[in-house]
Symmetry: C2
Subunit: 225 residues, 2 copies
Amino acid sequence: MILPSEDAGVGQSTYETLRTDIIFGRLAPASKLKLDDLRDTYGASVSTIREALNRLTTEELVLAEGQRGFFVAPMTAKDLVEIADLRILLECHALTLSFANGDTEWEGRIVSAHHKLHRMEQRMAANDVSVRESWKQYDWEFHQALISACDSASLLSLHGSVFDKYLRYQMRSLTFRGDKAAREHREMLDAAMDRDSERAKTILRSHIEGGVRHCLNNPNVLPNR
Amino acid sequence: MILPSEDAGVGQSTYETLRTDIIFGRLAPASKLKLDDLRDTYGASVSTIREALNRLTTEELVLAEGQRGFFVAPMTAKDLVEIADLRILLECHALTLSFANGDTEWEGRIVSAHHKLHRMEQRMAANDVSVRESWKQYDWEFHQALISACDSASLLSLHGSVFDKYLRYQMRSLTFRGDKAAREHREMLDAAMDRDSERAKTILRSHIEGGVRHCLNNPNVLPNR
DNA sequence: TGTGACGCAATAATCGATTATACGCAAGCG
DNA sequence: CGCTTGCGTATAATCGATTATTGCGTCACA
């Protein structure tokens, strides 16, 4: 997900930049995406911009309304709950498969990812807000590592897409919920080493549901109404 | 899904036509999609074609390889199994939600969809192969009706996308498996009327797994190797 | 003063042309 | 004789221009 890759063409990098700009909230939910403006901002022709927007439309990060142009997908409480529900469904399923399948390499990936995530959590706890985005990046890498042995490219891809939509809501909650979340990450690490997928799933569910509650209670997250 | 809508612009209808052409096998798996050829075939400019292909790339019905163009997504046994697994996961979950939520309108949609599907199944059983595509259309409508009360647009959208990828494999099995499938449809209808989601899920799982076995045993479905 | 038709400005959709990249073949060199 | 390097063609990527649509503001008329 997330990281724009260097070498790619204009089209690919425009797509990636637009995507992260939506996920990280630099493009406001429900705002109009005017092609001419975007061309100036992103330094690509309208055709290229349209290509990127069309791809984002399929992912439902952008809405295309008839002949009336493109809009950033709005953010609503209902959508958040739906997305979280899907993330739980997909990630729990992947967890089961992955725990049954994982080898020592897999364990190594998890330990490594957790270590890096933990470092970021420490910096976040020390109010070093500059690492917000990389913290979320490492959060993704950890969750990704846990399910990386599920042996289903389709499942991983679908999960990645849902995760990013969930992330868009997370990114708007400016307050740090790290204490509880960090403990849950630690517990999932332990459960993974024990290959106890039921325990991991229980923790994951409450991990995500906690994140949802945190967002719903946070007035920054849902601007409308 | 499926049906190309009339009124839309060139871009939308090109996208829909390309999509159904891939799903229904009119464009061979793994074949190269040359832009100039497609422009002639579909009567739209390269930019418009590219727009459509980019959208299909996001859905993983088309693969975009670096600067080397577009390819129809290949079909493999592993992909079929993964997609079927996802369909079971998503559709079972949606079934649970829908059965808990559905009102009388919902029941009406199911009864109606089943009736139309049943008619098609009869014609298929009588070797009227001309209705193959509409039969699959009604199959989709029935499954869609069952989960239509799940009250999650995101889940329905994700399910639709996975269903269509599954359908691509189904469309290649030229032999009719309708007898068993028709019975399962009937049983799901009954389970829906009884609001017995556990029963419906059991049937659905074996319904889909039966379809997968049928495809895996059918040499028409997986051309490679 | 309200309403509807008209036209203008803004913006989207679509296109064809231009530039860049990749691939195959052939010629030169080891 | 095989490998590499350079050239030409085929194809993709990107762009700017052209056409179509929409939405708003204004003016005429009831």
